[in-house]
Amino acid sequence: MDSQTASLFSIFLSGVLLTLIAGFYCILTSTNLIRVLIGLEVLTKGVMLLIIVAGSIVGRMALAQALAITMIIIEVAVIVVAVGIVLCVHKYSGSVDTRLLRNIKG
């Protein structure tokens, strides 16, 4: 890997890592279920950028784009099902705060 490519990769890698930090922090510290989903979305943005940057650097953009499209499809399915679960939780407990979900505690 030449120095210009390494420099490009390290700059994009910094952006990816900072986005991942924001997403992880949101998931770990939020108590609102919808905000946790938003944190998950932020996390996937970082991973998506990493896939595209990796494909751009190794010269396999077609494969990287195929993987990114697959990831977007999976992301939509995960979010839709998670939103359904959040709505069910809200319907039965009246809140989306994880601290109030005591009745499902084992």
Partner: protein, 163 residues
């Protein structure tokens, strides 16, 4: 790689931090759409237009719409509760910009060794060829996941007939 790419990366990280730190969930969902839009511009600049179109239409359009619909279906906070939540969020999330800033400085100072060998040249050139010829099992998986997602939502959200 030029200054515009660096500015876009900074905008991506900043919009991600704003998405996480905003007190109102509605503003957070809108900031998420902005993050996706910035990522789309980066994808176009990295020569990934097809993934960029998917990102713009699905992640910047559909997913924030789903999240906003969910927010509208849940209970709205009173002004007092919103103020309490804002203070709580500020107390909980004020570390985040500091952590991101420190991590950014550390990443700028520390050089990660990136001397791995270049891979062999790609056998196929277009996304269509990759999806239909090389990774056709992915398509089957995507169809199954979409059907599973639709079935899951139908089961979760349907009203009980005898309830």
């Amino acid at each position: 790689m030029n200054n515009l790419d660096v500015m876009l990366l900074v905008a991506l990280v900043a919009s991600a931090v704003i998405t996480v730190m905003t007190a109102r969930l509605l503003h957070s969902a809108i900031a998420l759409a902005l993050t996706s839009a910035v990522l789309t511009i980066l994808m176009f600049r990295l020569n990934a237009p097809l993934a960029g179109v998917f990102e713009l239409s699905v992640c910047a359009g559909l997913i924030p719409a789903i999240l906003i619909s969910t927010i509208s279906l849940t209970r709205r906070l009173t002004p007092e509760a919103l103020e309490t939540r804002r203070k709580e969020l500020l107390r909980r999330f004020w570390y985040l910009p500091v952590i991101v800033l420190l991590a950014g400085i550390a990443l700028a100072l520390v050089r990660v060794p990136l001397d791995f060998p270049a891979p062999p040249p790609a056998a196929v050139g277009s996304v269509r060829e990759v999806l239909w010829n090389l990774r056709h099992l992915d398509l089957v998986g995507q169809i199954v996941i979409l059907l599973g997602g639709a079935f899951g939502v139908a089961v979760l959200v349907k009203e009980a007939k005898d309830g």
